[in-house]
Symmetry: D2
Subunit: 311 residues, 4 copies
């Protein structure tokens, strides 16, 4: 078994923490900007229920882009592959996560994949339900089921703050609406409401690791034995985590680390080592691509020490 | 004097009308789609008050992009050159009028010129006034003064139709807002309300020719002798009409015709032959760049027959 | 064991062959254009020496882009990771394989990955040796060692034909040279000589499967027990095959098939099922992205029938 | 008459010279790098033969991009408008002069105009003649005729230096050749030989002003009365000088100065005030767009003082 004690983890965390000084906490949202730059914590969740951890794993963080892979799973279950991939592609892109260029230069105007903002907005817009509240509750229930934690909610302050400032996402929505990549009756403000709440769902590293575990076990919650996500959907999500999970640093991450993972600008990373365990990391200092700088270092140390790369 | 009789004009109109069959009426707005594809009319307005015309010059058309050059004049008068050109550039672009790409790929994110959509939205947003109504009335008063026609208004149906469908312009607005090219308190929906009303201002070819005349005479209304637009502002507007007035066909238009002009997707063209006369054209069949196909042909015939090119 | 008999393979080949009618043989090189559109053959090479096959596996094909992953392995061995990845990136790109755009729009001007043309040219230029002949022979020796076939050579007709026509690759070379991504003394014509010979190396499907086997076994030739490629280099190559091996259809390939693989415009595909076996496919009818249309279908059938996806 | 004495010019030159401290001499070619950053000189050539000047107008400078408008005139005379504009467009572009992006993103692959590098290379490639020498001599003879100076030649050192280093232009050539925008039998090295010699043609400011005069007089040499360039060709050239003559600062130049002009990275500017006079300027300190920083300032002062803007 790869890592046997929290003490081993603690040593790796201290080694990785050094590079937090080269990163920066996201400051475009006040609530995110309050994070301590040199924070770093990790939880590992095994199928047999054992958890290892290091750092303050009780701290709650918002999912931000990590939520994209969860909403993708839900929507693939809701709508089926053909419908979803008729509206969003499967290809990685060398562009920044919030780029709008390819929506204009490529025909048809279809987001290249569901983990860049344009694609994630299309996916969230496909969550079934009659109202924003109903759709959001379906996503939340899905997450509560994966984490087996019915107390999970969202941070209103972060959601409101992002709702007020994410003009770039509004630009993407209207561009996509113009090109019929969103349902004609899409109300962009309602979608922004839903999307910013989704991004503001908060949990601690243990919960995050538990979600990673469900993906690692092909959609089965190993503790209850329940198949929460169909196998093919779980695998598709893991594949996207490999090819597009770390924004436009995904290729390097695959080479150096080789673990399906998804990061968020809050500094969170959710990882899924296939068949083995789930990982939840929080390290708010980001590199220039928007990934947790110490979180990536920590995953690199883990991958090398315990030979976790898929490749 | 270049053209002495309406009969001469009529011959040119008939020759130019032939190419309407190679064009298409804009159909993205129902009200525009109702236009007759083979319509073509022209009015020429001399400084001494004489008007020549051919075709049905009583028909009212909406200004659409022609309005961009008028709002530019008003805003330059309102704000001064430094303020305006701090928010919008002076360079022609080889891209389509509604392109968003350069806003992302060029730093800083500043629309290349005031006659592409991104730039025109920035300009309209700078019209002074406390409410949409107040700002719109200021623009309308300015136009009424230029045309000496206090009955000029806007077409509600066209304005509403464009308001409901111009998601691409909303995308541009939010993108620009994100990059601080619009005042922080800009309400995009209010700006869209103002902009779509501006585009829906309607008049006939004679009025259009009269506006062209004011620009041709460096801002002076030759009939009243009043300087409606300062000379430098009128010249700046004419320069933009040469370098950017015909979307991404402006270069070819300068080479072949050489008259400062601005077109709109309604099929209108407003022309200003410096020191000589103003031109108003209506020909709703458009070429693939969005310019009146017969209108351009007619201007080419006029320019060649009467040697009107500035170059 | 996944597939036990050539008869099983033959059934899959016939099913996959149907879609050759939707593809097109590459015709920009006369020698490639002579291929029969409905050809399809496959060889599978197990670590224990057993081979399964279907179709005419004796037919020789040129490697084309398949060679990129082999030259990458050689250059990583020659130069080390730091040197190589100082000149070429690790990121997949949503652009076509021969695109030049990102070389200009991204700073610094570094090809995004070694499997697009720009990156492959940089890599081939790093093969050690004093002359084109010496460098080419080193690559050829490496390939002969991997295939255990000392008769492998290249097709002069194809090499010459590509040398004469690949102006786009010359454009990429000069662009890269201008931006110091190639050694200052690089002679572009010599590089083109080397690169077109590399692309024209020819072998049959069995040889191709044997190369795939070496990658599948982490660089070890299981028959001789020799480590031909260091483990980390072999894994890096497989990772690139997953993230970038199928041009800008790599993401979809990863989702649907999940086997590290590299295609070429000759219609060849080399696949490496980690720890299990190597695959060589020839199917010259290409889809619009430049991949063997029936070859991909065949791999999809294999992957689904025998659950070969890594994900 | 606009400017009556060299003394007036001298005052303007001293005022403009101040901004040389904000510019930089081009240093990518050693021969250009030797220029003195605070040099500034101007010659004005009137149709009646009178010349005004200020600064050291005997200093020889190489034409660089100024030559593009002269080769355009020659090729339009050689081939006619239809042939030339079948291979190069008429549209200004917001991109840098050496950009390759639009060649890929716009279909068909046609340089947007003849004054960006891609377009100029296409134009030079259309100069008639059997050998590089013959073609170059035709261009040189044309220039000697315009300047009435049979001693004009080219600087071998600059030509050789540019030949050895202009890999970006080679990239453009091969890209264009790939897309059939250059004759199939085009030898890129020969074209580079011809093009770098063209750019290295050298003359002093007086000669430059004399060329400007011929364009200003619609192609007629007012001293001999000879029509050296047909009127329409001269006008087309002047139009391009307005819309594209100052790289991607042409729009601002048209607004602020309004004189047809063409600059080169040597720091030269050739101007043509329609019907009035020709201008030759040398000021090697460049702004970030590659135009003579003090040369532009000087033209701005001239245009304002003597109201020379066309607009």
């Amino acid at each position: 078994m790869p890592c046997q004690s929290s003490d081993e983890l603690k040593i790796l965390v201290e080694e990785a923490r050094i590079c937090t000084k080269n990163g920066k906490v996201a400051n475009y949202i006040p609530a995110l900007g309050k994070a301590k730059a040199n924070d770093l914590s990790i939880a590992i969740h095994y199928p047999d229920g054992r958890c290892l951890s290091a750092g303050n794993i009780e701290k709650k963080i918002t999912l931000q882009s990590i939520s994209k892979v969860i909403s993708l799973a839900l929507v693939l279950m809701d709508r089926g592959l053909d419908d979803v991939f008729g509206h969003v592609g499967m290809e990685p892109t060398g562009d920044p996560f919030n780029s709008i260029v390819k929506l204009e230069t490529m025909a048809p105007t279809k987001p290249l994949n569901p983990l860049i903002n344009a694609g994630a907005l299309v996916v969230t817009n496909m969550i079934k339900g009659n109202t924003v509240e109903e759709r959001f509750l379906r996503l939340l229930s899905f997450i509560r089921e994966m984490t087996n934690d019915s107390t999970i909610g969202y941070c209103e302050e972060v959601a409101r703050s992002e709702f007020e400032t994410s003009h770039l996402n509004r630009a993407l929505c209207y561009f996509l609406k113009q090109h019929n990549m969103m349902a004609e009756n899409t109300d962009v403000e309602q979608l922004m409401d839903l999307y910013t709440k989704q991004c503001a769902i908060e949990m601690n590293c243990l919960d995050l690791a538990r979600i990673g575990l469900v993906f690692a076990m092909d959609g089965v919650d190993p503790l209850s034995g329940k198949q929460i996500i169909p196998t093919d959907v779980a695998r598709i999500c893991k594949t996207f985590m490999v090819t597009c999970g770390m924004y436009n640093a995904s290729g390097e991450f695959a080479i150096k680390i080789g673990i399906p993972a998804k990061s968020g600008v809050s500094g969170g990373i959710m990882g899924a080592v296939p068949g083995k365990f789930g990982i939840g990391i929080f390290g708010p200092a980001l590199d220039e691509k928007g990934n947790s700088i110490a979180g990536i270092k920590l995953l690199e140390l883990l991958s090398k020490n315990y030979q976790l790369s898929m490749f």
